[in-house]
């Protein structure tokens, strides 16, 4: 095992803003999160919130225009992991009422699942930043000794 590093790393994917790619995005997310000291419930919350942000981009950002992409960037800071979901389309205000689909409920769910959710939109597109605190393991422990942190996602979520 290489010595621990305090260097921040990040992963960036660019996906077509198409619902057919949501499945691969979340399986990739479970793969990355499985290496971090997070219990399965926290992993689920992060993947679910990322899924909502990406689904909003798929459903709303490029409506009535050329199909575009979603940029997902995932990185770690000293005590947090962050996921940024960015599109380059147009923001649409959530419509009110029970018939509204996606958007309204998606944003509510993101905010209930993750403590820190920032949404910024301007003429260049919409950026959703999800920030989740992560406690470092003690120097002599490995992330996979955290109860429940290892194993399950790969088995439960991969085909």
């Amino acid at each position: 095992m290489p010595p621990p590093s305090d260097r921040t790393e990040f992963v960036h994917f660019t996906l077509p803003a198409d619902a057919a790619h949501l499945c691969r995005l979340r399986h990739a997310m479970y793969g990355f999160l499985g290496a971090l000291p997070l219990c399965p419930d926290r992993q689920d919350e992060i993947v679910l919130a990322v899924g909502e942000a990406a689904a909003n981009a798929v459903e709303h950002a490029y409506r009535d225009q050329e199909p575009g992409v979603i940029d997902v960037t995932f990185w770690t800071e000293g005590d947090a992991l962050c996921v940024q979901i960015r599109d380059h389309g147009r923001w649409r205000e959530p419509s009110s009422g029970p018939q509204s689909v996606g958007h309204g409920l998606g944003v509510v769910l993101m905010r209930r699942l993750i403590d820190c959710v920032l949404i910024h939109h301007d003429h260049r597109g919409t950026t959703v930043l999800l920030r989740h605190p992560v406690h470092s393991p003690a120097p002599d422990s490995r992330p996979d000794v955290v109860p429940g942190a290892a194993g399950r996602p790969a088995g439960a979520h991969r085909a």
Partner: protein, 136 residues
């Protein structure tokens, strides 16, 4: 402090400032769900397994509504085999609850007692629209 690592290897090469696309090993290419309808004695048991998101929500809802057709006295939507649901899937549950209430058909949704489907059903407050029963 920790660095993002997968299998004890850095996700990116040293100095990497990188770009990784989800690949073939990152699970099935498209969201897959199976809907099985079992009708007997005037009740409909509709089991949805797999994963449910924006990609397949419309198709799954159509199958569920076919299962509800024909005037059953009770409907059970069994999601215990479902591993993932997003807001598009949750809307199916809200609409089903309204539809069954309007048609005076008893309905319930059975969900896994933990995991992402339970978390979403609970977080979204689906029980306000249709009774929810967790099952281990």
């Amino acid at each position: 402090m920790f660095a993002l690592r997968v299998n004890d290897r850095p996700v990116l090469p040293a100095g990497g400032d990188g770009w990784v696309a989800p690949g073939r090993d990152d699970g099935p290419a498209a969201t897959q769900a199976t809907v099985v309808v079992d009708r007997r004695d005037g009740t409909a048991h509709i089991a949805v397994s797999g994963e449910l998101d924006l990609a397949n929500a419309k198709a799954v809802e159509q199958q569920i509504l076919r299962g509800v057709g024909g005037g059953p006295t009770a409907v059970t939507l069994d999601l215990t085999g479902l591993r993932y649901i997003d807001s598009a899937g949750l809307w199916i549950l809200f609409r089903l609850g309204r539809h069954l209430a309007a048609a005076k058909i008893a309905g319930e949704v059975v969900v896994p007692a933990d995991g992402p489907v339970w978390r979403m059903v609970e977080t979204a407050g689906v029980a306000a629209a249709i009774p929810v029963r967790p099952r281990r």
